[in-house]
Every structure is written in C-alpha cells, then in structure tokens.
C-alpha cells in the first residue's frame, strides 16, 4: 500500500468514511473451485436497478475504491451496464474474475471504461492441477488467453493464487508465469471456511511445513530474517490498534444486499434493500460492536506473544465462533513464521493433553426411568 493511500485510509477512518467496498454481483460461477467459500445457487440477486441505486448511495457515502467480484461477474448479462454506471460515478474500480469469459471485445470495453485493475485466479501453471481445482477442463488456457487480451489493452492485471494441498508445489512456477505475462502475482496461504460456517474446506490448507518454507522464501517475503523474527512485546499503542479496516473504513455487500464488515466476516449488519447504505454504515449496532474491539479486549490474544504483530483476522475469528476470540489460521501462520506458539495454540495443546478427570455417563439400567435425569455416575478416567 502506498504512503498516500495509507494516509487516505487513515483520513477515512478519522472521518468515518467507507473508503473501500467489495460488492459481489453474483454468487453464480462457471467454475466450481474445490476451496470456494460460496453457495453458487442464486437466492435472489439484486436487480440492475437495485445495484445502480446502491452505487449512487455508495458514491454519496464517499466510497472510492469499488471492487466488483463474485461468483463470476461476467455471468451477469448486465455487467457492463453496471460497470458503466459505476465509472460515471467516478469510482476507482477493481475487478475480480476467473476471466474465462473475457475475449478481445470485453478487454477493450474494460479499457475504455477506465478500470484500475483486474485480479484473475490462477492456481497452477499446469492445466491438470489448475483445471482440477476449478473443475473446468480448459479453464487455465482460457484464463491465460484472457490475461493476454487484457495486457494487450494496457490494463493492470494481478494473478491471485491460493495456496492449498492441491497446488502447494507450484507457486514458484505460477510467479514465473506471471513474470512471463508481465503481471503481478499475489499468493494467499489461507483457505477459509464457507460463508455458511461449513469448515470442510479447511482440510485443503497447505499445512505447517509448507507455510514454514514459504515464510522463509525471500522471493515471497523479502527479508526472511526480519519476516520470521520473534514478535516485539506488545505496548500500549499496539493494545489499542485496530485489527484491520473491516467495518472501520471498508465493508462488503452481497448479491442479495446483505451488508457485512468484510467478505470474510459474514456478520449481517443490515440489508441495502431495506435501508440506505449510509444508514447501515453509521447506525448498525453490529458495526458499532465490531468497531469497539481492540486487542486489549481479546482475552486470549491480549496475553499472546504475537499480539502486536499478529495478522489476526476478526472475520475468521467470527467464523470460528467468537469475533473477540483468536483466529486459529492466523495463530498457525504466526507459529510457522516464528516457531513460537500463540497463546491460543498453547491453550489448545493443554486442553488436548490434560487428563479428563471426570466423565459423566448414563447408567444404562436407569436411563429409561423417571430418575434418568439424575442418573449420572462419575468415574475417574485417564486420558
């Protein structure tokens, strides 16, 4: 992030302005990625008119960076109508897409409309790996072809790669592919739970040894010694620091109008079909609660060695059951980075290793009697 953009973000924070919004236009998708956190059925997307009206409300509220994402945005037949309206309102537009539907004509229109950047998901340089993740044969070839169309129009393209068990050996080659195509490459080492709370996708996370190697790879992290250094002691300033911009100067709106602090933080704060965007932003009790949270309020994290340097995601903590709790995925990253376990990991370890001294169980003979509610026996059971 540039110094100027950081200053603008800080200013937005002071003024209470939602500087940056991700708007998902649809959850429908033409790829079925194994790690995706979305339900791809259409449960009643906002209409063109509703989205245009929302964009006007967002511009009025001061939103500057508008990320249009999905699902696959090009599945909406009105996509360019929405994009034109957004640009007429002078948003700085970023697109997230798999680009499978982008041809020369679409690339030219994107250029004409002054889109700032296009982020495209590429998981491997090998079709058999990428296409197995997307479950669409030929998808890598089509996405790469689209990148070339977009680059030929002079557009800024960023490859987004998610590290997981399926592609964990390919990230160097994906970066080399990015270099060949003349585009930036980002790598996200976290697979998140599904928005409905289903945690089965977490099994795809790459694991500690892969993370440990990645965090010592200077091609990705810069100065590895600095990146992996033991955390500094938390001070008063860090105890009052904000975890991230979610709900503070950034937020998310779903295709159904649901307003969340962030796409990874599915705490419903209202619906833009029922209330004005700015009214939800200013008055939502849920957002006020999110904004009130500081490191010092987190019972586990405030005591943790990683407190001041942790990248704890409040949304992942929320998905784990408590927005004031730790985010275990981030604890695992901190451990892989420094070799120092977080307070949360230590507590989990203690819980697992401590002998269960008392086990309560029903006595079968009494289970059906009217005394069943009181028929517990206690026995000492070792772990």
């Amino acid at each position: 992030m540039s110094v100027l953009f950081q200053e603008a973000s800080d200013r937005a924070l002071q003024l209470g302005v939602p500087l940056s919004v991700q708007l998902d236009l649809t959850y429908r998708c033409n790829e079925k990625c194994v790690h995706c956190y979305l339900d791809h059925e259409d449960h009643g997307e906002m209409t063109t008119a509703e989205i245009k009206h929302l964009l006007e409300e967002m511009a009025e509220a001061g939103v500057f960076i508008l990320t249009l994402s999905g699902g696959e945005i090009f599945l909406r037949k009105d996509f360019f109508e929405i994009l034109e309206h957004a640009r007429a309102l002078t948003f700085c537009i970023k697109l997230k897409t798999n680009a499978v539907l982008i041809r020369e004509e679409q690339a030219a229109r994107i250029r004409d409309l002054g889109v700032e950047s296009i982020q495209i998901s590429i998981y491997s340089h090998r079709p058999e790996v990428h296409d197995a993740i997307t479950k669409v044969p030929g998808s890598l070839r089509r996405s790469i072809k689209a990148i070339r169309f977009l680059k030929s129009q002079g557009l800024k393209v960023v490859i987004a790669n998610v590290l997981m068990t399926e592609n964990m050996h390919d990230y160097h080659e994906v970066r080399a592919l990015g270099d060949e195509l003349g585009v930036e490459c980002s790598l996200d080492p976290t697979v998140t739970p599904m928005m409905d709370g289903d945690r089965s996708t977490l099994a795809l996370n790459a694991g500690e040894s892969t993370l440990r190697n990645l965090f010592r790879d200077e091609a990705f992290v810069g100065n590895a010694a600095e990146f992996c250094a033991p955390p500094a002691t938390s001070n008063e300033g860090s105890m009052d620091a904000l975890p991230c911009g979610a709900g503070h100067n950034a937020c998310y709106v779903s295709p159904y109008g649901e307003f969340y602090p962030c796409v990874q933080f599915p705490l419903s704060c209202g619906n833009v079909r029922e209330k004005r965007f700015i009214d939800i932003w200013r008055d939502s009790e849920q957002l006020k609660e999110v904004r009130s949270i500081r490191l010092r309020d987190l019972s586990s994290c405030s005591q943790c060695a990683h407190g001041s340097t942790c990248s704890r995601c409040p949304g992942l903590a929320f998905l784990e059951g408590n927005m004031r709790g730790p985010s275990t995925a981030d604890c695992e990253k901190s451990f892989a980075r420094t070799g120092i376990p977080s307070a949360n990991l230590l507590a989990k370890k203690e819980k697992v290793s401590a002998p269960r001294l008392v086990q309560i169980q029903l006595v079968p003979a009494l289970a059906g009697s009217r005394l069943a509610g009181m028929s517990a026996s206690a026995s000492a059971v070792g772990a």
Binding site: L4, L19, G62, A88, T90, C92, I93, G114, E116
Partner: protein
C-alpha cells in the same frame, strides 16, 4: 490574453474526502490527493468556464490572494495535473464526453 479552459479527464476516478479530493489516474494507477484549493479548481473544471473566471470567482473570493498571483498558481497546478492525465487543458472550451462523468462527489 489567452483564455485557458480546464476539464476533468473522464478516465480518472475521484472522490471527495473531507476538504480534500482523492484522484486515481489511469496512468500507472497513481493516486493523487488534491488539497482544498486544488479541490475547488478541480470541481469547477467543467470545460466551459475559463480558468481566470474560476480563479476570480472561486479562489480569490475564498482566500485572501491577488488575482494575478492566484492565476499563475492555478495555471501551474493545471499544467501539472494535465501532465499526469487527470485534467484536460485547452484554449477552446472542452466539450463533455458522450458518456459524461458526473460531478465528483
């Protein structure tokens, strides 16, 4: 004396943030922050009003500054913004593009 006309480029993104304006240029994704004075000029840059009129009506009336000095500063600023592709300058009025960009909020 030559008249200069200024217009906001339709290819940029812009938003008011407090008294300032954020402008993102399509050229190299560069972010600019316009201070309150530059913001006044930016907002008035409709392609139809000459720069000297903008300075006289919008800047000299708001700030204690001489018109000649303010105009020189405004011309320098306009040329600087034009170099970055975020403002258009012409000695003729500048017509609005077909897909008109709305007033920056």
């Amino acid at each position: 004396m030559r008249k200069l006309y200024v217009a906001r480029s339709p290819r940029i993104a812009a938003r008011r943030l407090g008294e300032e304006t954020l402008v993102m240029s399509g050229q190299g994704s560069t972010l600019f922050t316009l201070n309150p004075t530059a913001t006044i000029l930016w907002q008035a840059a409709d392609g139809a009003t000459p720069l000297d009129e903008i300075v006289e009506r919008r800047i000299c009336s708001e700030f204690a500054v001489q018109p000649g000095e303010a105009l020189r500063d405004a011309e320098a600023l306009a040329e600087d913004l034009a170099k970055h592709g975020i403002l258009l300058i012409s000695e003729e009025p500048i017509p609005k593009p077909v897909a008109s960009v709305q007033e920056s909020r």
